[in-house]
């Protein structure tokens, strides 16, 4: 299987097939993140288009040595979506308790790659946070609000916003580290002895 790095290098050399392979592999993630942030189908589609056009024109700026491709592409997605939200000065409805678009629900648990399983569990960990903590974290990260803007938006004191973000982030951090430990354990486990 061709690595992401190889596909990005070929995209930088104007290889359309490599570019479309990256699109096939990552467009659902880009579109999913954009949709989660802007909650508008048309705008999410435009953001996805912008992100992949940026990939086409700026793929040389990706350096594999600095990290994996997916977070790089999704950081571009987040920044593009935040630019759009700021441009349109939109304040979105807060996340629903039951998001009808939760496709993670339908992804099978079995044979799931380790990283995928961690992202999935992080998604549920965010969803299971106390509502106030989740709201503050999502407004900061998915809608690019500063703590003062969150305080004004929700009518909370600034100190309360910071405390709720810290409590939520501590909980997520702990779960994330636990996941890492489990992963390390499974990687370091002694191989099964053949009978």
């Amino acid at each position: 299987m061709v690595s992401d790095e190889e596909l990005v290098n070929r995209t930088a050399k104007r290889d359309e097939e490599a570019f479309l392979t990256l699109y096939d592999q990552y467009s659902a993630r880009v579109y999913g993140l954009a949709l989660r942030m802007v909650r508008d189908i048309q705008m999410a589609e435009e953001i996805t288009q912008d992100v992949f056009l940026k990939l086409w024109t700026r793929s040389r700026s990706y350096l594999a040595i600095r990290g994996a491709f997916a977070p790089w592409l999704l950081t571009i997605t987040r920044n593009t979506a935040l630019d759009r939200l700021r441009l349109e000065n939109r304040r979105l409805p807060l996340a629903d308790e039951h998001d009808p678009e939760e496709t993670w629900e339908f992804i099978a648990n079995e044979e799931m790659p380790q990283d995928e399983a961690r992202w999935r569990s992080l998604y549920f960990a965010v969803r299971d946070l106390p509502k106030e903590q989740r709201l503050a974290i999502e407004l900061a990260y998915y809608q690019g609000m500063s703590h003062s803007e969150i305080a004004a938006h929700l009518g909370w004191p600034v100190g309360t916003v910071k405390t709720r973000i810290r409590m939520g982030m501590d909980q997520l951090r702990q779960q994330w580290l636990d996941g890492q430990t489990e992963e390390a354990k499974s990687k370091n486990a002694p191989p099964d002895v053949l009978q």
Partner: protein, 258 residues
């Protein structure tokens, strides 16, 4: 307020990892972190969570036409670079000719004009693409509505209200529903209609936003059901800000009891 010598609070570090600090707070924290290994370690853990949140959004397949459109765009945008020719030292040193100022000015104006025309055309194409997408969505809405109506055993409940009327059509198993509305009031630019699922107890839940189409009526509005319809006591429609509200902020203009 953090100075460079004292550790920032964990509150500030977690807010910093989410990029939600105010610009005025950044400098002192960044100065401290750059020389403090303990804070760098804590921040790295918070940042790992933030990076994970990028990947934690549920994947969604984008509309299939997007791939074809991108393929067209990259093919059209591809430019052939002329072969690189090394210039001799004498050529490099040659001063830029300074003659023909009128010709240069005219050429410059022509280039600017061409750029303006191409910008205007690009804008027009984008507008047309948006209109095309809006029409496509409208057709899909109609198709979904027709499919629902034509299901044997689909129930139709009339809706009347202070402003507007129509019908709610419910699939026989109660899993999907659509509103067919007409005579709705005109909305201002910053308003939208929001559909609410109203349980017997507890707060109404949002079931989608729509704005209707000028001069058209009876466009089906698919209700985004989070539970089977039998779990709810009523469905309502209210006028809300264009981006929607977490809870109704105005009296419903239409209500249908289930």
């Amino acid at each position: 307020m953090t100075t460079a010598s004292e550790h920032p609070s964990r509150e500030d570090l977690s807010v910093y990892a989410l990029e939600a600090l105010e610009p005025g707070e950044l400098q002192a924290i960044e100065r401290h972190i750059s020389g403090c290994l303990d804070c760098q370690r804590i921040l790295a853990e918070y940042r790992a969570v933030a990076d994970g949140m990028l990947l934690a959004a549920p994947p969604q397949a984008p509309p299939p036409q997007l791939r074809a459109r991108l393929a067209d765009q990259i093919s059209g945008r591809r430019t052939v670079h002329p072969p690189r020719v090394e210039r001799s030292g004498a050529e490099k040193a040659r001063p830029v000719p300074r003659g023909f100022p009128l010709l240069q000015t005219a050429l410059g104006l022509a280039v600017i004009l061409l750029m303006l025309v191409s910008l205007a055309m690009g804008f027009q194409i984008r507008t047309l693409q948006r209109q095309q997408q809006a029409l496509l969505r409208l057709i899909q809405q109609h198709q979904a509505g027709l499919a629902l109506i034509s299901q044997p055993g689909a129930r139709t409940l009339p809706i009347t209200g202070a402003q507007g009327r129509g019908n709610l059509v419910v699939a026989p198993d109660g899993s999907t529903a659509a509103l067919f509305l007409q005579d709705l009031p005109e909305l201002s630019e910053d308003q939208a209609f929001q559909v609410w699922l109203i349980p017997s107890e507890g707060a109404p839940q949002s079931a989608g936003l729509f704005r209707g189409q000028d001069g058209q009526s009876n466009i089906p509005v698919l209700v985004e059901l989070q539970e089977p319809l039998s779990s709810y006591a009523a469905i309502g429609v209210s006028i809300e800000p264009r981006e929607g509200s977490p809870a109704p902020t105005t009296e419903p203009i239409l209500v249908v009891n289930l």
